[in-house]
Structure formats: structure tokens, C-alpha cells
């Protein structure tokens, strides 16, 4: 028998037992009983200004620390405000536990005040979820939620608890072990699959390491480095994998996909073997699927069996934790390489030529205007690779992926799968809470910033001094770019006028942050340095940039990667390339 206490105390004790150090949330009627023991708990509770902020903050915290992020909200609107961050975390495989209050069990199903069937709502956007109506079930549900969120392919788990279950008395006893009948992630790779993978690598002339976010989730960057240097194969890192392999490394061709480098996109297209590590053949990487890497065999290593064959047939599937998979693959390859190592000289000559001919770059804007790419590049260079960079969604996100140089895992956060505008400010807040001694830059758009900037108040009040660069092109920039390209420049509802309203400097000031503005190209470095020098409060910099800058290269949606453009209407000169 455990100790007698309320369900609410049992919840908080369970969260403590699960090792929670911080949670982000807002109280309300149904969750109110839990907030009483939270008052006395060792767990730091950060009171956010909107539940969506709590969810993205928990994600930022989780992505930076590798731990489970926790958010908490009340029933009804509190819970539905978590829907976007839960869907976001599900798409990007982020370990989250969301606690929501529910109306009392007797009122469930009666359309009671602030009632929403959040278990039903979140079923398709969580890894698993619970509705608890009996206080005795709370510790087990919490223990299972943390286990499910953090193991296998990570993901969000929601625990909805009826108010009366929080109020009633129960005996607290945290489970010592968890075994779920239907949940047993495979960690160790199959030995035969490793042998088959080695055989494919031995016979490949044009292999590519196609690296996804799974490498970061599995903390397998070291093994990736070993594998890359062992094979000498080109490496591409997807949007979710930026930082998994150093950008400075000579084997790195950069990011593949819609806005990837010509070398990375072409390497995948022309490859004869994709060594796929924790990536999922997303449409933004493959382009038109039927024309993607048509000559390549595929090794697909992932912890989620459902990713195998989902979009692309895998010749050799390897189910398992990537760290374990690479730990098995590397020695197996080493012993084969002693006998005979594939010669990649020709392949590298082609790739090196592409990399040299088509580096990432951008046009200089008209005189006196600031280039958004330049701002982002300079923030990356001045803050350095030890900093953490968090982007919103849109042009600035792609530029932040392209022009900041990442050297270590968990230094780049963004909403890759769901593409959640408004992610940056709250996620940066969570990242800074997880890594308080690290500089955290949110690189945001003026559109994104206006969706979630209220969390700067949370940052200011809770000593979470993040830095926010608003790449202010007074537009929904990526949508505007598509309108330029595909809608004859008819800019329907993409102009935000945010160089007029709001005044971001005043807004920053009103929210307890330092507000800076940069309007001239020659001031960019000085303003970034000034922002870097302010560490006792959040900083917001309004970078007023050239409106018509575009993200290049680009593979238009639904077209083949072979149709990559390096500028408007301009394809690479394939005839001059030996491919």
C-alpha cells in the first residue's frame, strides 16, 4: 500500500517520480485541483500566456535536452489549444507528455461547461492517450505515458484526467516497472539485415548517407560520423537532421529536398544506394515520388516499422534503435573493407564538381536594402555553432537551415513535418529553459512572430532571455514567393504591412524585452552584436529586409527533383556535369 493523498497530489508525485524538472502550463477549472500541490512541488512550473505556447515550449525543451517535455492545461479550450503543438510533436517525433484536466466523470458526455473530448480529438495526433476517471490509475498512466513518449519512435502522449479523479483520495504508489502488452519497440537490429546491408554497401558505386532526424533522436551522431568516415560516402542531412553531421565536414553535401543544395538533391537522384538513417522519404525530400532516385537500392534503418515501405520500397529494412544499428553495421563493414573497399572516386568527382559549381548563395538586393539571407548568415556566424537556433516556418526557416552552419546535434530546432507558423518564440523559450547557459536565437518571420509573440512576456517575467530576430519582409514571404512563381504575382492576402504596424520595437518594450531595429545593411553586424551583449532580458530585433528575396534552389511542389531550379527559370547546366 502506498501513501494516502488526493489524486492531484498523486499526479504531482508521479510527475516528480518520472523525473520532471519543469513544465509549462496554464491553470483553469478542471485542472485546478492539480495546481494546489504544484504550488509546493519541486517541479518548476512556468506560467505561459497561451496553451499553444506551453506545448511548443515543451517541444523546444525536449528537442534541446532529449528529455520528455511536459505541458499542462485545463479542459475544453485549454486542451484544444494544445492540439497544434501535439500534432507538431507527432509529426516531428518529439517526446511530450501533455496533462489536461477534464470535467468531472459524471459530467462527461453531457456537453458540460468547458468540456471537449480531447482524448477523441487527439487520437490521430498523439502516439497514445489516456482518459483517467479513477484516481488509483493516475501513477500507472503517468509512468506509461513517459515510457511511451520517450521510447521507440518518440512522440506525444496526452493524459486527460477527470476533475473528480484529482479530488478523490487514493493511495500513491509509483509503478516500478512497465510492461505493455502491445508496445515493445525493437531496439536491436536483425543480424541478417545488417549482413544484407553490408552486401549492398560493398557493391554500391554511388552510395549516399540519407540522414534524417532519427539520428538526433537516437543520439547517434558519433556513430554517424564513424560510418561516414569509414565508407567515405557523401552525407545529406534533412531539415530535421541539420546538425546531426557537421556542416564543415568534407563529406557533407548539405540539405536535400525542395530547398536543398544542388549537390545534395542530385546525389540522391543519381545514387545507386540510399543508406537511409532515421529518415522517412517525406514529399519535401523526394519531390515527385515516382521519379525519385530511380536507380537506387534502399537500405532503410528506422525504429518505426511502419516507415518501411510507406513511401519507398526498402530493399533492406533494418528495424532498430539507430545507435544499436550503426554499432552493429560499423564493425561488420570494417571487416569487409579490410578485404576490399569500394572505390568512390568517380562518384566523388561528380559530387565535388556539383558542390563547387552550385554552392548556396543569394543575390544582393537593391542598394540600401538588407538581404534577409545575409542577416541570418551573420547571426549564425556571430553567435557561433555553440548557440541554438530556432526557426518559425517559411522563407526565413529555409534560409536559417541553409545559411547558419550547424556543427552539433540539437542546435537546430524547427517545425519540419507540420510546418507550424508561430513555433519559434515558444520553442526558443523551452529551449532556453532546457539549456539556460546557451545562447538561443529564434529566427522568425514577421508573420510567424505575430502568432505567438505573447510568450515573450513569459520569457521576460521568468528570466528566460532568448533572442528573437524578426526577418521582417512585411509579408507572408513563402506564400508570396509561390504567388510570384505560380500565380503571376497576384499577391492575394500576403502583405502584412508589418513595417508600419505593429511597431515591433515598442511591442518588445511593452513586453519587457529589449527592442532593437536594423534598417541599413551596414548596421547588421553591430545590431547583432548589441543583441548578443544583452543577457539580462529577452531581445527582439526588427530586421527590415528586402521584400522580394526568394529561397533558392527550389524543386516546385509535385515535380521531379530533376527539375531543380537554382534561380527563377534557371536550371543547373547539366551538360557541363559528368553524371
Amino acid at each position: 500500500m502506498g501513501t494516502e493523498m488526493t489524486g492531484a497530489s498523486s499526479l504531482v508525485k508521479s510527475l516528480e517520480a518520472a523525473g520532471v524538472e519543469v513544465m509549462f502550463g496554464i491553470p483553469g477549472g478542471a485542472i485546478l485541483p492539480a495546481y494546489d500541490p504544484i504550488f509546493d512541488s519541486s517541479i518548476r512550473h512556468i506560467l505561459v500566456r497561451h496553451e499553444q505556447g506551453a506545448g511548443h515550449a515543451a517541444t523546444g525543451y525536449a528537442q534541446v535536452t532529449g528529455r520528455v517535455g511536459v505541458c499542462i492545461a485545463t479542459s475544453g479550450p485549454g486542451a484544444t489549444n494544445l492540439v497544434t503543438p501535439l500534432a507538431d510533436a507527432q509529426m516531428d517525433s518529439v517526446p511530450l507528455v501533455a496533462i489536461t484536466g477534464q470535467v468531472p466523470s459524471a459530467a462527461i458526455g453531457t456537453d458540460a461547461f468547458q468540456e471537449a473530448d480531447i482524448r477523441g480529438v487527439t487520437m490521430p495526433i498523439t502516439k497514445h492517450n489516456y482518459l483517467i476517471t479513477n484516481p488509483d490509475d493516475i501513477p500507472r498512466a503517468i509512468a506509461e505515458a513517459f515510457h511511451i513518449a520517450s521510447t521507440g519512435r518518440p512522440g506525444p502522449v496526452l493524459v486527460d484526467i477527470a476533475k473528480d479523479a484529482l479530488q478523490k483520495m487514493t493511495n500513491f504508489s509509483y509503478p516500478k516497472s512497465i510492461q505493455l502488452a502491445g508496445y515493445k519497440p525493437q531496439i536491436e537490429p536483425n543480424a541478417e539485415a545488417i549482413r544484407d546491408a553490408v552486401a549492398l554497401i560493398m557493391s554500391a558505386k554511388k552510395p549516399v548517407l540519407y540522414v534524417g532526424g532519427g539520428i538526433i533522436k537516437a543520439n547517434a551522431s558519433k556513430q554517424l560520423m564513424q560510418l561516414a568516415e569509414l565508407t567515405g560516402a557523401p552525407v545529406v542531412t534533412t531539415l530535421m537532421a541539420r546538425g546531426a553531421f557537421p556542416d564543415s565536414h568534407h563529406l557533407h553535401l548539405g540539405m536535400p529536398g525542395m530547398h536543398g543544395t544542388v549537390a545534395a538533391v542530385t546525389a540522391l537522384q543519381k545514387s545507386d544506394l540510399l543508406i537511409t538513417l532515421g529518415a522517412r522519404f517525406d514529399d519535401r525530400v523526394t519531390g515527385k515520388l515516382s521519379s525519385f532516385a530511380v536507380h537506387a537500392k534502399v537500405i532503410h534503418a528506422d525504429i518505426d516499422p511502419a516507415e518501411i515501405g510507406k513511401n519507398r520500397f526498402a530493399d533492406v529494412p533494418i528495424i532498430g534503435d539507430l545507435a544499436h544499428t550503426l554499432n552493429a553495421l560499423i564493425p561488420a563493414l570494417q571487416s569487409e573493407f579490410k578485404k576490399n573497399k569500394p572505390d568512390l572516386t568517380v562518384w566523388w568527382r561528380q559530387m565535388a564538381s556539383l558542390r563547387a559549381t552550385y554552392p548556396l548563395g543569394y543575390d544582393t538586393p537593391p542598394d540600401g536594402m538588407i538581404s534577409p539571407q545575409h542577416v541570418i548568415e551573420r547571426i549564425g556566424a556571430i553567435a557561433g555553432p555553440e548557440s541554438i537556433f530556432v526557426a518559425g516556418v517559411g522563407q526565413h526557416q529555409m534560409w536559417a537551415s541553409q545559411f547558419v552552419k550547424y556543427e552539433r546535434p540539437r542546435s537546430w530546432l524547427n517545425s519540419g513535418g507540420l510546418g507550424t507558423m508561430g513555433y519559434a518564440v515558444p520553442a526558443a523559450m523551452g529551449a532556453k529553459v532546457g539549456a539556460p547557459d546557451t545562447t538561443v536565437w529564434a529566427i522568425d518571420g514577421d508573420g510567424c512572430f505575430q502568432m505567438t509573440n505573447q510568450e515573450l512576456v513569459t520569457c521576460a517575467l521568468n528570466n528566460i532571455p532568448i533572442k528573437v530576430a524578426i526577418i521582417n519582409n512585411e509579408s507572408l514571404g513563402m506564400v508570396r514567393q509561390w504567388q510570384t512563381m505560380f500565380y503571376e504575382g497576384r499577391y492575394s492576402n500576403t502583405s502584412l504591412d508589418s513595417k508600419r504596424i505593429p511597431d515591433f520595437v515598442k511591442l518588445a518594450d511593452a513586453m519587457g524585452c529589449a527592442g532593437l531595429r536594423c534598417e541599413r545593411p551596414e548596421d547588421v553586424d553591430a545590431v547583432i552584436k548589441e543583441a548578443m551583449s544583452i543577457n539580462d532580458q529577452p531581445v527582439v530585433v526588427d530586421f527590415r529586409v528586402f521584400r522580394d528575396a526568394m529561397v533558392w534552389p527550389m524543386v516546385a511542389a509535385g515535380t521531379s527533383n530533376d527539375e531543380i531550379m537554382i534561380a527563377r527559370g534557371l536550371a543547373p547546366d547539366w551538360d557541363s556535369q559528368e553524371l
Binding site: R119, H128, L180, A181, G182, K184, D304, P305, A306, I319
Partner: protein, 185 residues
């Protein structure tokens, strides 16, 4: 496209049917029929799901189902290895053709379970193809209404889906169960 039947053992917990239905809906898999019921273990329910899809999509459906935490075991029920049955209740107007109807019913080994108000209710239990043929023959007499259960299937011989859980090995508490499926996530 072809028809496939899968049997799924699930934890008998609230919302589990909604989870399965939600999965099929959001992944755009079409269900031809679905039957759910209790099993020899009160903690476990069994679903029999009939799907019309391409063979390689079946692997994906099964892998996606395995991702549901409440799903314990899955197996394809092939025609060769399993017994498949459907139940049909069909209401036919007697008119002047009672003896003809009775002979059709007899031919298919079906039974008349109700004779009232000028209508016969016929009950048939059998393989889907046989049920379909019976319905074709009865259509001539005018079908007032019919109801069909989803298909259920059980493996022939000693094979059992429940062997894939550890309950057969004497571990009965649900949360101590493991699974012997090749992969689970």
C-alpha cells in the same frame, strides 16, 4: 486490389475501437467489414477486419496497426489456413411462392427462423461466397430487409493468434503481457 482478412487482438479498453477506426480513416484504408467481440480472455477483444487493397499496402496497414499501443497481435487470415463465416438474416415476402422459397432455403442449408405477417425471416450461416449466392437466389422473391454480420475467421488446427501473446504461458495480468510478434512499436 484484392480482399484481405486480418484478425487483431486488442486490449479490451475504452476507445480502442475508435483508435482502430481513426487509423483506417486517416490513412484512407477502406474497410469492407469489421466484427468485434470478446475472446476467451476477458481482457482481450478480437477484431476481424476485411479490407480491399493492394498486397503491399496490407503490410503497411498491419505495421500501422501495430503502432497502436492497445493492439497486441495481428495476423492475416488466409482462405487456406482459416475458417471464415458470416451470418445473414434476411426478410422475404411470401406471396404465393412459399414452397419455392423453402426449397432455396433448404438448398443452402439455411433455416427459416420466423414466419409472420406474410414474411419469412431466413437465417444463413456460412462462407461469404455461399451467403452471396443465397442472396442472389432470394432476390427474385423480393427482399424486404437484410442484415449481415461482419466476417469472422479462425485459424484451422492448433494455430491460434492468442499464442502470440504470453497469456498462453501462464502470465495473465494484462500489463505483464508481452508479445512475440516480429516487431512492435
Amino acid at each position: 486490389m484484392s480482399t484481405h482478412t486480418i484478425a487483431v487482438l486488442v486490449e479490451n479498453s475504452p476507445g480502442v475501437l475508435a483508435r482502430v477506426a481513426s487509423l483506417f480513416s486517416r490513412r484512407a484504408y477502406n474497410i469492407d467489414s469489421l466484427a468485434v467481440g470478446p475472446t476467451e480472455n476477458p481482457d482481450i477483444s478480437r477484431m476481424t477486419i476485411v479490407l480491399n487493397l493492394d498486397g503491399h499496402v496490407l503490410d503497411q496497414v498491419m505495421a500501422q496497426l501495430y503502432k497502436l499501443v492497445n493492439v497486441i497481435a495481428i495476423s492475416e487470415m488466409t482462405d487456406e489456413a482459416t475458417i471464415k463465416r458470416e451470418l445473414l438474416l434476411v426478410k422475404v415476402e411470401i406471396g404465393t411462392k412459399k414452397s419455392e422459397i423453402e426449397s432455396v432455403v433448404a438448398k443452402f442449408g439455411a433455416t427459416i427462423v420466423n414466419d409472420d405477417d406474410g414474411f419469412l425471416t431466413v437465417q444463413a450461416l456460412g462462407e461469404p461466397a455461399r451467403i452471396e449466392k443465397l442472396l442472389e437466389d432470394l432476390t427474385a422473391f423480393g427482399i424486404k430487409e437484410l442484415v449481415q454480420s461482419g466476417l469472422v475467421a479462425l485459424e484451422r488446427g492448433s494455430a491460434a493468434l492468442s499464442d502470440r501473446t504470453l497469456s498462453a504461458q501462464g502470465i495473465s495480468t494484462l500489463h505483464e503481457l508481452g508479445t512475440q510478434a516480429d516487431y512492435q512499436n
